[in-house]
Amino acid sequence: MPESFTRTSSRVIEIPRANIDTDQLCPARFLKITDKANLADALFFDWRFTPDGKRREPVSFIDEPHNQGRQFLLVGDNFGSGSSREHAPWALRAWGIRAIFSTSFADIFKGNALKNALLPIVVSPERHAALTALFAANPDGEWTVDLDALKVTLPDGSSFDFEIDPFNRTMILAGTDEIGYVQAKLPAIEAWEATHPARVESREGIPAQ
């Protein structure tokens, strides 16, 4: 069942890289699981460990001691590009990330994140530059993300508004299950289907295996 998100305060991890793809977030060899267990360990795995399994020196972003427990990421353009694997937002959530600030997110990742109450917060390039400067000046300051008010409050007391798809916002605030929501519309869907017959029947002509 989905989790809700209303308001969270946290310090920030900056990863100043663009085009962070889902193969970096969760390498494919960790996709052989049939559940969601232990995905926090897979997050950014190949950035954190050498191919022969040694922890890299210096340690990668999320392994830095002062970054433990931080729940927000500040990253470069086009975060989450590549594969549709929902393991990427699962791994981020499992590690403890609740919101990500970027100028843009890949479409499939963004949809997957929203289904896991992980907030993709899109900011303008100018705002991103300002946030980067603010982070550099105060890397241990707490930011507050308020989904109800659609407002981010920064450690200097300033704040700015952000947008999240209004439907997703409502669902996340209430922790509502989207599938249950659609299942309640099944009479309308069935009525539509009565005049729109299926275009293919995959079960016909398939030899028994």
Partner: protein
């Protein structure tokens, strides 16, 4: 209203939106907050399922006590984690074995047709959908895989979804969706010999960048697109996601209908005639408008190859590796890191870079025409000493066709490995992988760090370029091979297209 010119995407959208207006569905049943606009409920015609992204969706389905609502509009196969070794050899990787057993069990329990290991119809999900005739114009098609865009080659709205959405489609045969923006990609002119579909899409992504199509759906148009075979069109649409677009479509035409006619799940008899009549109405209307448009001159395209760590870092094969100082500040850091990872030197020609492995296959370039292209180069030649060359058909049907044509013998005689079908080294989940530091040229779709194996370094290119490089052991422009070979190749490709 009826006269407003519409795009292909708009037509498919309005044919499938259970509620047409974004805000037509009241939220009041489930959501008590003020009533924000809900997305459309989009009916899904075909749901393709594979072993890697589906298990948690079936677990969710069980937890809510739900059934698969339309098992007859669902098809499953095993492609990602499946070994490409002989099916009589037991699967050594315990996790892969468990995952493959899991999808079989899930399909049995929920009544979904499943093409598993040993089935003659098994293959990469985006290869078998079209070859079985399941993929048809005007459909909505989804799969828990970002390369679902492949099916857009038939004029279907096809896109990748996450596991939560897989569960949604299993439970309801619909998705909650916002209408995407449209991005027209017009490829004019005629491709030069040695240049193909893969080069078109790599050139587009190099031009617009990996996020260039975000929020949009591509529609590929223009003479160079019209001249492509169905399989080549699939190659183009397949990598739409690499340009940031969830889907990429090509309007159906006679090439599409000729490919589909007589395939197992295609309409037959009167139903076929009716379907074709409906499909003819799908192409975008004259005067339809797009949110964005780009025009590329197909005459000027060269064989393309990537040099970096995302598919947007591509260049003409005759070019030199770019220098961080020559690019904008936004791209400079990315490029520096990519060149460091790749171990490449700015200013040097990309052609001539040393290789350890060649991979020919994947949902991008694992179809029979790709096998023929590779064979046309490798026939009578031998792969370079010390080079590992894997040729992996996209499906068991492609494998059989290739073997009927004797292509397997060409590959084996050349010193290449000829394997069972699957995703293989494209995603490196099944044991087929680059070793740390190795260089591979690959006909697949992603050159992300570690994508083809921890620490592996990938060059993406066409089957012709990959095969030419297999012969020399270095990144090689296929046009530099003898004219005889290239001329032969094009005669063969043309006759293959005409034979359809």
């Amino acid at each position: 209203m009826a006269d407003r010119p519409r795009t292909l995407v708009e037509k498919i959208w309005s044919d499938h939106a259970v509620s047409l207006r974004d805000d037509a569905v009241s939220l009041s049943d489930h959501v008590t907050a003020s009533d924000p606009g809900a997305p459309a409920i989009l009916a899904i015609d075909l749901h393709l399922v594979h072993e890697v992204t589906s298990p948690q969706a079936f677990t969710g389905l069980r937890a809510r006590g739900a059934k698969v609502r339309k098992p007859g509009q669902t098809v499953a196969t095993a492609d990602h984690s499946i070994p490409t070794t002989d099916p009589s050899i037991p699967i050594a990787d315990e996790l892969a074995r468990k995952q493959l057993a899991q999808i079989e069990e899930n399909c049995r329990e929920f009544g979904i047709p499943f093409y598993g290991r040993g089935s003659g119809s098994r293959g990469i999900v985006h290869v078998i959908g079209p070859e079985l005739g399941l993929t048809q114009p005007g459909m909505t098609i989804v799969c828990g895989d970002s390369h679902t865009a492949t099916h857009g080659a038939f004029g279907a709205l096809a896109f990748g979804i996450g596991t939560s959405e897989i569960e949604m489609v299993l439970a309801t045969q619909t998705l909650l969706q916002r209408k995407p923006k449209t991005f027209r990609v017009q490829i004019d002119g005629r491709l030069q010999p040695g240049v193909g579909a893969k080069d078109i899409i790599l050139a587009l992504i190099a031009e617009i960048g990996v996020g260039g199509g975000t929020g949009h759906v591509f529609e590929f148009t223009g003479d160079a697109i019209r001249a492509l075979s169905m399989e080549e069109r699939m190659t183009v649409c397949n990598m739409s996601i690499e340009g940031g677009a969830r889907a990429g479509l090509i309007a159906p035409d006679e090439t599409t209908f000729a490919y589909l006619k007589g395939r197992k799940f295609a309409p037959q008899g009167v139903a076929w005639d009716e379907a074709v009549a409906a499909w003819r109405k799908l192409p975008s209307d004259e005067g339809a408008t797009y949110d964005r448009t780009i025009v590329i001159d197909g005459d000027k395209l060269e064989p393309m190859v990537t040099y970096g760590t995302n598919p947007g870092m591509g260049m003409p094969i005759s070019g030199r590796i770019p220098a961080p100082a020559d690019v904008g500040p936004a791209f400079r850091d990315d490029l520096e890191r990519a060149l460091e990872y790749m171990g490449l030197e700015s200013g040097k020609p990309i052609a001539g870079q040393k290789l350890d492995v060649v991979f020919i296959g994947s949902c991008t370039n694992g179809r029979i025409e790709d096998m023929r292209a590779a064979a046309s180069v490798l026939r009578g030649r031998h792969v370079a000493p010390g080079l590992r060359v894997l040729i992996v058909p996209g499906s068991q049907q492609v494998k059989r066709e290739a073997e009927v044509e004797g292509l397997d013998l060409v590959f084996k005689a050349a010193g290449a490995e000829w394997r069972e079908s699957g995703c293989s080294m494209c995603i490196a989940m099944n044991g087929d992988q680059l070793e740390p530091g190795q260089y591979g040229i690959s006909t697949s779709n992603r050159n992300f760090q570690g994508r083809q194996g921890k620490g592996g370094r990938s060059f993406l290119a066409s089957p012709l370029t990959a095969a030419a490089s297999a012969v020399t052991g270095v990144v090689t422009d296929p046009r530099t091979l003898t004219d005889v070979a290239v001329g032969f190749l094009f005669a063969e490709q043309t006759s293959a297209v005409e034979a359809h």
